[in-house]
């Protein structure tokens, strides 16, 4: 299992699409946006935009990493016969999904950490040690529902459909969750959709932490409910995808 995990990480690190979309994009957009608007200050919380953007871009990178490392690779493995190759080895049946989930958790770390590092180095963002730990841990664990969504897509759809669905899902969640534009400037219909999405709760928890506030119970509950729901869906879909008849 540890060797399987290593192999999964190695192949994603060599995947150009992962490196560009998931590691380079969020860092580059952070640098661009924070140079444009970084010094603006949020009137209600007094937090600088460079700090808010750090959470937004870190959240985007983590969300993208968790979905990119799961949906399409897993769908391709099922359809190319690689799953069968693994099924005829002594590898236990449930190891694939466990390894994919753990690998996805590790693969979100570069995006999260590099955006944070860019914020510290270029915008001199400073948080207390407790805030850093809380922020990184919640933003890290908060990617589980997105990885579960990616695994569900990968289990249910063939690669040529999984690719656009994962892309639309990823950008839709990022956009509507307020990671690219504040939810407040959206039309009210869009805003009511945004507020039930896991990406909205996910980013909000991060924004509260950098504003020195405790995350609200509703946001945490929303994120946990999405984690449980999408997690269950991922297990059912995986079971269906690996069944032997």
């Amino acid at each position: 299992m540890p060797h399987y995990l290593k192999v999964e990480l190695l192949r994603m690190a060599r995947n150009k699409r992962y490196v560009i979309f998931v590691v380079a994009f969020p860092v580059a957009f952070y640098l661009l946006y924070s140079n444009l608007w970084g010094s603006q200050v949020d009137s209600t919380t007094g937090v600088r935009a460079s700090v808010i953007l750090m959470v937004s871009m870190g959240a985007y990178g983590a969300l993208a990493a968790s979905m990119m490392s799961t949906a399409v690779p897993w769908s391709q493995e099922r359809h190319s016969g690689w799953l069968r190759q693994l099924q005829i080895t002594p590898l236990p049946r449930w190891s694939i999904i466990v390894v994919k989930l753990v690998a996805s958790l590790l693969l979100v770390l570069p995006a999260l950490l590099l955006v944070g590092l860019a914020a510290v180095l270029t915008q001199h963002v400073s948080l207390t040690a407790g805030e850093w730990v809380a922020l990184i841990l919640t933003m890290w664990a908060g990617t589980i529902p997105f990885a579960a969504l990616g695994l569900t897509i990968g289990s249910l759809l063939p690669p040529d459909t999984a690719q656009p669905v994962a892309m639309i899902g990823m950008f839709g969640l990022a956009l509507l969750g307020g990671l690219w534009f504040p939810v407040e400037i959206m039309p009210s219909a869009m805003r009511s959709i945004a507020q039930v999405l896991p990406s909205y709760d996910y980013a909000n928890v991060g924004w509260r932490i950098v504003a020195g506030q405790a995350p609200r119970a509703g946001e945490v509950a929303g994120l946990l409910a999405w984690t449980a729901g999408l997690g269950a869906l991922a297990l059912i879909a995986y079971r269906r995808a690996t069944v032997r008849d």
Binding site: H3, Y4, V7, L10, R11, M12, R14, N15, E77, S80, G81, W82, R84, Q85, L86, Q87, I88, T89, P90, L91, P92, R244, D245
Partner: protein, 294 residues
């Protein structure tokens, strides 16, 4: 001990019977060819041996255990018909990954040597040719040092040269006392690379034996001559004759004893025999005769 035992195994897909009451035993240490046309149930049988498909009825044992248990113990390796590799991994990384999933794998260097991959060890899977990919898939099949190796039309995508090399590699693996079952629709492959040929058609075993025995089992020879407008009555009663066919004024007599048939043809009939030819049966004829739709 039997490496493989099928007992009255049937498998149907939505009402279509792919395997129809298959009984087959393969003793450990033998190399058996499963020979049959497309759709004969070869792949379905192999997939059931691997636990990838469940039989609709009947029982399958691999070294006395269920296919699932045998796979979990690392006793079975297989090269299935289709299968690509992980594009971002090198040959050595891919083979090493799979071999580590088995309890007692072969050393990496030995696997690469047995599959002629030593020179390609560092190449990424997405830069391999079709034939090279097949070699890697063979390497994955033997990586865990399985006692039973299943090969499902392993040379389908190979050119003549690669085929020869492939069977050489297979034989050197087999020579270590392992059991091998391979599916093929190439008669020559079955003849040259196995101790025993099991001919399957429509999901059933239609012949089972050495290649020579199978050739002998279908009326060994044929005698043909130009019949013209003459009557063919009584030809099927000639000594040795097992069948008569007429096509375009030419009659073909299938016979188990061509000498007796020809002698009687001249002595006991009044036919004007022209342009006589005697054909020895080859495995191709045997195969066609055995697998012909009834």
């Amino acid at each position: 001990m039997n490496a493989i035992a099928f007992t009255a195994v049937s498998k149907s897909y939505g009402g279509v019977l792919a395997v129809d009451g298959l009984d087959l035993e393969v003793p450990a240490g033998s190399t058996v060819a499963l020979l049959g046309p497309n759709g004969a149930g070869k792949s379905t049988s192999i997939n059931m041996l691997l636990g990838l498909l469940k039989p609709t009825s009947g029982d399958i044992r691999v070294f006395g255990a269920t296919p699932h248990e045998a796979v979990a113990r690392g006793e079975v390796g297989a090269m299935l018909q289709e299968g690509t590799l992980i594009p971002e991994l090198t040959v050595a990384e891919t083979v090493d990954f799979i071999r580590r999933l088995y309890p007692e794998p072969l050393p990496l260097a030995e696997i690469l040597r047995l599959a002629d991959l030593t020179d390609l060890a560092g190449r990424r899977a997405d830069r391999l040719s079709g034939g090279q990919t097949q070699r890697v898939r063979f390497a994955l099949a033997i990586a865990g040092a399985p006692r039973l190796l299943l090969l499902d039309e392993p040379t389908a995508a190979m050119d003549v040269e690669s085929r020869r090399a492939f069977w050489d590699n297979m034989r050197s693996y087999a020579s270590q006392g392992r059991t091998i079952l391979f599916a093929t629709h190439y008669l020559e492959e079955a003849d040259e690379n196995s101790d025993r040929v099991v001919v399957v058609a429509r999901g059933r075993v239609v012949a089972d034996g050495t290649a020579a025995e199978i050739k002998a089992s279908v009326a060994g020879h044929a005698v043909s001559f130009r019949l013209g407008g003459q009557s063919m009555a009584g030809l099927d009663a000639l000594p040795g004759a097992t069948g008569v066919e007429v096509q375009g004024g030419r009659v073909t007599l299938r016979t188990s004893d061509p000498d007796a048939t020809i002698e009687a043809l001249y002595r006991k009939t009044t036919l004007d025999v022209r342009d006589l030819q005697v054909h020895g049966a080859d495995l191709e004829d045997a195969f066609i005769a055995l697998t012909k739709e009834i």
